[in-house]
Every structure is written in C-alpha cells, then in structure tokens.
Amino acid sequence: MTATHTLREQTTARASWGRIWAMVLRYWYVIRSSWPRTAELVYWPLVQMLTWGFLQSYLAQTTSFAAKAAGLFIGGVLLWDILVRSQLGFAVAFLEEIWSRNLGHLMMSPLRPSELVAALIIVSLIKLAVAMVPVAVLAYLFFGFNVLGLGIAFAFFFLNLVIMSWSLGLVSTGVVLRWGLGAESFAWLIVFVFLPLCCVYYPVTTLPAWLQPVALALPPTYVFEGLRGIVLQGVFEPVLMLKAFLLNLVYFAAGFAAFAYFLHSARVHGSLVQMGE
C-alpha cells in the first residue's frame, strides 16, 4: 500500500462538520488577527444606539408620547442592527474570499455550497455577538434600556431577524458570485432598502395604503410591530412572530435557491475563475 493510499484512508469525502469547522476557524482567525476590524464591528451599532438614545431622551423631555414610549427608538435601533450586522457579517465573510483571491481554492476544495452557507451563518452569529453584546450593555448603562427585559419576545425577535438576514446574505453573496466585485455594493446596501419598508420606527399604518401589503410581506415588519406592542401596550403577540417565521421559511428557501442558481450560473459563465481583488 502506498503512502497515497494510506492518506486517502484518512481522508473522507463525508467530513461535513469538519469542513464547516474549517471555514469557521478561517473566519475566526481573521476576526482575531485584526483589532480594527473588531472595533469596526462595534462602531456603527454604538453610534446608532447613542444617536437614537439621546434623541429619545430629548423627545421624552418635550413630548408626552415619547416619555411614555421609552425604549421605542433604542429598541428599534438595536433590533434593526441585529438584522443589519447579521447580514453584513454573512456577506462580508464571503467577500473576504474574493478580496483575498481565495475563492478558487475554496470552490476547488471538497467544501460544498451548503457547508459554506452553514459556516457563514455561524460566523454571522459570532460577529453579531461581538458587535451587539457591548452595545446592548451600553444601552442599558446609558439609557436604562434592557433588551433582555423584553423576555421571551426578544428570542423570537432575534430568531426572525437573523433568519431574514441570512436570506438577504444568500441573495447578495449569490449576486457577487455571479457578477464579481462589480456587484459588491449590492452586498453592502441590500439590507437598507428594508429600513423604510419594515417600519422600524413607525407603525405599518403610517405607510401609504398601497405600500402596506409590501411591508406586511416582510418578516421584520412583524418584529418591529411586536416591539411596539410591548413598549406601548405591554402586550406580546405570538401570532405576529408565527407569521414572521412562516414568511422567513419562504424567504430562506428562496434565498438558498437563488444562491444555488447564481453559483450554477457562475460556473456556466466562468466567473468563478475570474474573481479577484
């Protein structure tokens, strides 16, 4: 038996978790190696939280509604940042492969697309924790807003927001796979089109009648409606979370299908071998 055969015995095509773990390690090494990147993860959520927190404090002094609705803006911005940071965490981890001209090696390796997606999901959660835990703590210290005070509702909000972020991440990375770095801005900006539509800071009824069905077709809308229900009426409506979850299942399936389609299209058009910085 040759050394090649011996090594092949140790080498299996089914080491799926091993490959996912390899990719998580790869991204973790990048996060660990650069403190500016870690600081960058916290920077914008912190700026946003402080801005909206101070605005809310000011409004609370001048209007009775804002005084009654303490936490409406800070809660909104924290939940919104969960969606944004998770989507960016997913997409930017993938962009790292193109910036470092490593995509060819990955696509040529036994790593399967589903394993890459699983790794990106895990990394998005790690980046989210790095970004949002300090910001949530500071929101409590500065403005007395305890996101965990939302109780079980927070778990449902979090779940629905991260699933939506992964769906957006799948579509945006798929577009970059197919069209290369020319479409990079799409990965950075896609989530922001949902800021006005998901009614982060105002009720759905604020939108024009023709736009409301669009808002109600988006899972995050139910999360922000749910937040307002808790802050303004002290009521948590599980049915809103169920609707969001069911919509999320559809969005995630569509996102994965889009990613698979764009990957196939990239192999047809030869764009995988042309990518680089």
């Binding site: 090649t4 140790q10 492969e97 470092s100 001209r101 036994p110």
Partner: protein, 260 residues
C-alpha cells in the same frame, strides 16, 4: 534523458478523460471539441498562447466551469455534475489564486487540511512545513511573505491531501530561477514517488521540456499537437520546445511543420 516509467499503483481507468469538450462564451469559442485521456502517474503540459484555451480546460477539469457540450471525467466522476465525489482526491495551485492573506502559514495549512479531511492535521502541517522549508515561516501571515515563500506555501497547500491528481496553472510564474528550479524538483519528485498525475499549464518551455511526459498543444481551443516533448521537437525539426512554440505561434502548426 529517459523519464522513469509512471507508477500506476494498481489503479484502473484513466484519471482524466476528456471527450469532445467544448466551451463557448457568447460568440467566443474558448475550447472547441477537444478529446484526450491521461494515464496514471504522468505529467502532462497544456501549452498554447494566451486565449488558446488552457485555463478554461483546467477549469473544466476542476469543475469550476461547466462545459457547453462534451464531458470532462476526473477519477471517474463527471466534473460538471458529480465533482464532490472526487474533489478530496485532487488539488490545485496557481500563482493567480492566493490563500487568505491575514492567516498565518500554519493557520492556512490547518484550514485547508481540515477542508480536505486530513486527519492528524498537526502532524501533517509539521511534515509539510519541513518538506517545503516553511518551519521558520509558520507563524507569519501569508500576506507578508515574498513571492517565492508564497509559492512554497501554495505548493504545501496543494499537496496537503497528497492528491492523486494535481492541477497546476503556471506553477513557477514570477519566481526567480533558483526557486523555480526547486519547485520543479519538488513536483517531479512528488509525481514519481506517489504515482500522482499532474496537469500543468505553462508558458515556460524549458520547464515543460524538463517535467512533462506529454505535451498537449492548444490553439484557438483546439488540440494541434499531442505527443512527447521529444517527438514534438523532432516533428517540427527544432532544437527545443521554445522554438516549436514560437514557430507554431507565428506561422500556425501546418505551415511550421511544412517548413521542416
């Protein structure tokens, strides 16, 4: 010098079978119906000018590009449809594809070892580092290495799973002569000792003459020559492969051969 007989290690079926392979991008035909088979333990060079179809052919062998028609089978698998059955038995190196810059050499080898399902990663990384003179570089970021050092890391990565099939795209491009020679010796030793099959695309004719058992020359996506370097040089009546290449590039295969 007569090259040693390739080792097959008892394997059956060619490691690479290409049948009527064609790739069309819009109105450009990159590869135009090529057919060839490679034997186990051989080193085959794909030659041709820019745009001849070398990279597209290698990309189809890796499954990164889906053919318009025809078939590329590697280690028995159709690379358009079932490449994941065999990707752990192959590997790839190119100076135009990097490993992550911010990761250290050790981290890179560890990550790729895990991706390829190699057990005893630490032992394998240690052995690779010794083999490729990387011991002192293990904890330095890949992005801070010189071109020659990067090539040694890329080769260590390409051999981390001791592949049966190794695809190389210009493996010594932009290397100084000493490092390039070291790389060639490494590749030659690997292929001969492991019975591995190597396919390389190169513009360095001296390299091809030294390493390759067989040359497949492409022009406008078609095979215009497929023989040993020695036979090719003899057929065109030249003294080395570089002169053959230049003659074909400037006059076309038929005219260059007619002039002999």
């Amino acid at each position: 010098m007569q090259k040693p007989t390739p080792a097959t290690n008892g394997r059956t079926g060619p490691p690479v079978e290409v049948r009527d392979l064609r790739k069309v991008y819009g109105d450009v035909t990159a590869v135009d119906g090529i057919t060839f088979e490679l034997a186990h333990g051989t080193i085959t060079a794909l030659l041709g000018g820019n745009g001849a179809g070398k990279t597209t052919t290698i990309s189809m062998l890796m499954g990164l590009v889906i053919p318009t028609s025809g078939e590329a089978r590697v280690l028995g698998a159709d690379m358009a449809r079932e490449r994941h059955k065999v990707l752990h038995r192959m590997n790839f190196e190119s100076p135009y594809v990097d490993v992550p810059m911010r990761l250290t050499v050790r981290q890179n080898l560890e990550v790729f070892g895990r991706l390829y399902g190699v057990r005893d990663i630490k032992g394998r990384v240690t052995a690779s580092a010794a083999d490729f003179r990387l011991v002192d570089l293990l904890d330095r970021p890949y992005g801070k290495l010189s071109a020659g050092q990067k090539t040694r890391v890329s080769l260590a990565k390409a051999l981390i799973n001791e592949p049966e099939l190794l695809l190389l795209d210009e493996p010594t491009a932009s290397l100084d002569p000493d490092t390039a020679d070291w790389v060639r010796r490494k590749l030659e030793a690997y292929a001969r000792s492991r019975g591995a099959t190597i396919v390389l695309a190169s513009h360095n004719m001296a390299e091809v003459e030294r390493l390759a058992d067989r040359v497949i020359m492409l022009e406008s996506g078609r095979i215009i020559a497929d023989e040993t370097p020695r036979d090719l040089i003899a057929r065109f009546g030249r003294s080395n492969l570089e002169e053959v290449f230049l003659a074909i590039a400037r006059r076309g295969a038929h005219e260059a051969e007619a002039l002999t």
